[in-house]
């Protein structure tokens, strides 16, 4: 069966750590990093990358346009 897998890449320096993407993610992929960026914000990161489906919800609600979403279909 074909499986659709997704991944996100976060622009760490632009992220302000508002956590709206964490709230919007239906599969609980995103979490907040313990480290901070140069402005002192805890930035978002993929905590469970295996669950990501590339649904784009996080990128749509992100107020700072920091999220790039990738999606690929695997045949296996």
């Amino acid at each position: 069966m074909a499986k659709i897998k997704g991944a996100i890449v976060i622009d760490i320096e632009r992220c302000k750590g508002c956590e709206l993407c964490v709230d919007a993610c239906p599969t609980d992929v995103i979490g907040m990093e313990k480290k901070v960026n140069s402005k002192g914000y805890h930035y978002a990161a993929m905590e469970h990358p295996e669950n990501c489906t590339g649904c784009v919800n996080c990128a749509l609600v992100c107020p700072d346009a920091v999220i790039t979403v990738y999606r690929k279909k695997f045949e296996d």
């Binding site: 897998k5 997704g6 991944a7 890449v9 622009d11 320096e13 632009r14 302000k16 750590g17 508002c18 956590e19 709206l20 709230d23 919007a24 914000y41 990358p49 295996e50 590339g54 784009v56 919800n57 990128a59 749509l60 609600v61 992100c62 107020p63 700072d64 346009a65 920091v66 999220i67 790039t68 979403v69 990738y70 999606r71 690929k72 695997f74």
Partner: protein, 265 residues
């Protein structure tokens, strides 16, 4: 775990991109607070302009308020207007260049307080422009004072015991107000707190720009947004609060499409 990493390398490639920051937003980091709805609305407007391919034909008017620096973030031609006068400036620009796409971007302090008369008269004249009205029920930039759109009983820095409607009057529903004017062609109210609402806003914004080609009247889009700093909440709490309190008072939906009122149940 190693297999998972391999997978990620396979997924994160140029050809698999399904969403990325539109090039019409500049690389400058937004000056807004974390979680502010302004960023989403900026992005949605720029995505629509990008999709319609009208970057070189669009002129935006930035207001006074939190979004005063909108011209720094939007990679299109922008004009800064005096406080509340964006619809008047947009009128002038549109009349000089009738074939350009003109939109204003205003907050509730700009559009509903100091600029009420400009807004209502531009709507009444039926200028062929689009107005984006961001309503967060508070004066965000100046420190959370009461705005004309503040809800009854809502606390702000100038109404610490809640807005008393006997003393301060009732909030203005400016979107319903302009919908009654014959000059408006498309009037709607949207929000940006969930992904579904963002998609709906994008659809509405596209319609607002496409309507300018028809030259039949003004398109007015209100976006109910949060102000987590002004409301003294976290961004997620602010969105919940907005859903529970703002949206019953300012219901989401189209009010007027193609010059006709939409029937509501």
């Amino acid at each position: 775990m190693e297999k998972e990493n391999l997978r990620l390398d396979e997924i994160i490639r140029e050809e698999n991109i399904v969403f990325k920051k539109t090039p019409l937003l500049t690389d400058k980091v937004f000056s807004y607070c974390p979680g502010c709805g302004h960023g989403v609305v900026h992005r949605v407007i720029m995505e629509v302009i990008d999709e319609l391919g009208i970057q070189s034909e669009t002129i935006g008017i930035s207001p006074v308020g939190c979004s005063v620096f909108a011209y720094d973030f939007m990679n299109i031609d922008m004009q800064q207007a005096a406080h509340g006068r964006a619809p008047a400036v947009a009128t002038g620009i549109k009349r000089c260049w009738p074939d350009k796409y003109v939109f204003t971007y205003q907050g509730d302090g700009d559009l509903a307080a100091i600029g009420t008369s400009e807004t209502i008269h531009a709507c009444n004249r039926g200028e062929h422009i689009a107005i984006f009205f961001i309503n967060n029920g508070i004066y965000g930039m100046t420190g959370g004072q009461m705005a004309p759109t503040t809800l009854p009983g809502m606390k702000s820095s100038t109404t610490p015991y809640g807005r008393d409607t006997r003393l301060m009057g009732n909030p203005i529903k400016i979107t319903e107000l302009v919908a009654t004017l014959p000059g408006t062609y498309f009037v709607t109210r949207q929000s940006v707190h969930t992904a579904v609402n963002v998609r709906k806003l994008k659809k509405a914004a596209k319609m607002a720009f496409e309507n300018q080609k028809l030259k039949k009247g003004l398109s007015f889009i209100e976006v109910v947004s949060n102000c987590n700093s002004g409301w003294k909440m976290s961004p997620i709490q602010a969105n919940r609060w907005m859903e529970e309190n703002m949206l019953p008072f300012y219901p989401i939906g189209d009010i007027k499409i193609n010059g006709n009122f939409v029937k509501r149940n």
